[in-house]
C-alpha cells in the first residue's frame, strides 16, 4: 500500500468511521486503528440519535441497529410538571450502539479503509513540528505508521489530544459521570418519546433519562456533574429506581439486563482542534452538547467534514494547521453558536433552583426547549414577567443578556 496520501484515524467509534468515510469519498487512503479489539463494546451511551446528523453527514443509519423510532421528548421539571415535544413523523431513533458502531466501522472497511484493532498509540511521529504519523503498540510490537494527516477520534480520554497538546486533562466539573441500566419488563408511559427528569434530588447538575428501546425494554440512565456530589451516579440512579414516583409507575417490574458507565465532556469544544498534521473530532474534540450530552450526530457531521478536509489537504501536500483550519471553520459554522450558547445556558441552569425550574416548566413549550437547546431565541419573556416570580424574572434577564429570550 502506498502511503502517499494516507489519513490515519485513531478510534473506530461513530466519529472515526465518519472521518474514514469522508476521507475515502474525497479520494484518500485511510487506516482506522483502535485500542480495542471489539468495536462498539462496551456501550457507554444513551443511544439516541436524531435523523439530522446522519443526513448531513450523508451516512445512513444502519437499519439493523434501530431499536425504536422517536418523535421527540418529555421533560419532567423537579416538581414533575411535564413538557412534551413530539413531531408528527419520526425524527430520530434509539439504536443499539453495539450494532451501530460496528456497522459504521464495517462500512468504512468495505469502502476501502484498512483497519488495525488492538493497537494502542503510544506517541506521535513528527517532522519539523508537523505530525507525520503515529507510533503504536500492536501484538506486543512497537510499530511506526506514517500518514499525511492523523485524526484523533479517540473519545473523551483522547490520547491524541494529549500527545498533540490540544487538551491534557479536564476539570471534574467539565465532565458528566454517567451510569445506566438497560432494562427489560418496562411499562413505559410513552414508547416514542425520550423521557428526561431534572432536579437536584434526582440528578444534581444533570438529568435522568428513560429511553424506549422497543419490546418493553429501556435504557435508563443518569448523568451528573462531576466533582461536587456526595453520592455516585449509580447511587442516585438506584435511589431513583426505588423511590421515585415515575420509576414506581413505569419501572417497578423492570429487570436489569446490562449495566453501563460513561463519561462526557460537557464544557464545549476545545479552543482549537487542529495542529500541523493532526486534528481532533467527536468526544475528543468536545463535540458534545453541553446540556443534552448528545454527541453522535455532531461526531458524524464533524467527522465527515474532518475526513474530507484531511483528504483534500493530504492530496495537496499542505497539511499545516492553517490548511486544516478549514475543518474548524466548517464545523464551527454549523455548530459553533449552538455549543457556545448552550454552554452559557448550562451555566445559568446549574445556578437555577428547583422551584424556579418548575416555574420555567410552566411557561415553556416543547418547541421552546428545542430552540433554546439549539442556542436560538425564544419568546417566553412576557410570559415569565406575568408570573411575577422574582427568581424566574432574574433568570430571564440573564437570558436576555445572552439574547436568548
Amino acid at each position: 500500500m502506498s502511503d502517499d496520501n494516507r489519513v490515519i484515524v485513531v478510534g473506530a467509534g461513530p466519529a472515526g468511521s465518519s472521518v474514514a468515510l469522508g476521507a475515502l469519498r474525497a479520494g484518500s487512503d485511510v487506516t482506522i486503528i483502535d485500542r480495542k479489539t471489539n468495536v462498539g463494546i462496551p456501550v457507554q451511551c444513551g443511544e439516541a440519535i436524531g435523523k439530522t446528523g446522519p443526513g448531513l453527514a450523508e451516512i445512513e443509519i444502519p437499519e439493523e441497529s434501530i431499536r425504536a423510532p422517536l418523535r421527540g421528548f418529555r421533560v419532567y421539571s423537579p416538581g414533575l410538571l411535564s413538557v412534551d415535544y413530539a413531531e408528527k413523523e419520526t425524527s430520530g431513533y434509539i439504536v443499539d450502539r453495539r450494532v451501530f458502531d460496528k456497522e459504521l466501522f464495517v462500512r468504512a472497511t468495505e469502502a476501502g479503509a484498512d483497519s488495525l484493532l488492538g493497537a494502542r498509540v503510544i506517541d506521535l511521529v513528527r517532522f519539523n513540528g508537523t505530525v507525520t504519523g503515529v507510533i503504536i503498540r500492536h501484538e506486543g510490537q512497537r510499530k511506526t505508521m506514517k500518514a499525511n494527516v492523523v485524526v484523533g477520534a479517540d473519545g473523551v480520554n483522547s490520547q491524541i489530544a494529549r500527545l498533540t497538546g490540544l487538551r491534557n486533562s479536564y476539570k471534574p466539573s467539565d465532565i458528566d459521570s454517567c451510569f445506566a441500566y438497560e432494562m427489560s419488563n418496562c411499562n413505559l408511559d410513552v414508547t416514542d418519546l425520550m423521557q428526561f427528569l431534572l432536579g437536584s434530588e434526582v440528578s444534581p447538575r444533570g438529568y435522568i433519562w428513560i429511553f424506549p428501546k422497543g419490546n418493553n425494554r429501556a435504557n435508563v440512565g443518569i448523568g451528573i456533574g462531576g466533582g461536587i456530589e456526595t453520592k455516585t451516579a449509580k447511587q442516585y440512579l438506584d435511589y431513583f429506581l426505588q423511590h421515585h414516583d415515575v420509576a414506581k409507575k413505569q419501572l417497578s417490574q423492570a429487570r436489569v439486563i446490562e449495566t453501563r458507565v460513561g463519561a462526557l465532556p460537557v464544557c464545549g469544544p476545545n479552543q482549537t482542534n487542529v495542529v500541523d498534521g493532526a486534528l481532533l473530532v467527536g468526544d475528543a474534540a468536545g463535540h458534545v452538547h453541553p446540556i443534552t450530552g448528545g454527541g453522535m450526530g455532531y461526531a458524524m457531521v464533524c467527522g465527515n467534514i474532518a475526513g474530507r478536509v484531511a483528504a483534500e489537504c493530504s492530496a495537496k501536500g499542505k497539511v499545516g494547521s492553517s490548511h486544516l483550519q478549514q475543518y474548524e471553520k466548517e464545523w464551527r459554522k454549523l455548530y459553533g453558536a449552538e455549543f457556545d450558547q448552550s454552554l452559557k445556558l448550562r451555566e445559568l441552569l446549574l445556578q437555577t433552583d428547583d422551584a424556579t425550574l418548575d416555574k420555567l416548566g410552566e411557561i415553556v413549550t416543547g418547541e421552546s426547549i428545542v430552540k433554546m437547546t439549539a442556542g436560538k431565541k425564544v419568546k417566553i419573556f412576557m410570559r415569565a414577567m406575568a408570573t411575577r416570580d422574582r427568581k424566574l424574572i432574574a433568570l430571564m434577564q440573564e437570558l436576555r443578556k445572552l439574547r436568548m429570550v
Binding site: 480520554n157 486533562s169 451510569f179 462531576g226 449509580k234 458507565v261 463519561a263
Partner: protein
C-alpha cells in the same frame, strides 16, 4: 514522561486504588487526572503509583465509586 509529574508536589501519603470488580472502564478518572497517572487498557484501568499524587480528583468523578484513596 509527563512534564507535570516533576512539577506537581506530591502529597505522597495517599494513592488512588481501583476496585476492579466495580470499575466499568468508563475512563472518567483518566480524563480528569492532572498528571496522567491513569492508563486505560481494553478491560481495566491501571494507576501508575509513581505518578499518582493522591489528589483524589478521580474519586470524585467515578460513577460507581470504584476508586478510593489508600495510604501508601
Amino acid at each position: 514522561m509527563s512534564p507535570a509529574t516533576s512539577t506537581t508536589k506530591k502529597s505522597a501519603k495517599k494513592l488512588a486504588d481501583v476496585d476492579g470488580e466495580l470499575c466499568g472502564v468508563c475512563q472518567a478518572c483518566a480524563t480528569v487526572c492532572p498528571v496522567n497517572a491513569i492508563e486505560v487498557t481494553e478491560n481495566y484501568i491501571v494507576i501508575i503509583s509513581e505518578k499518582c499524587t493522591g489528589c483524589g480528583v478521580c474519586v470524585k468523578v467515578c460513577p460507581v465509586g470504584a476508586i478510593s484513596l489508600i495510604n501508601r
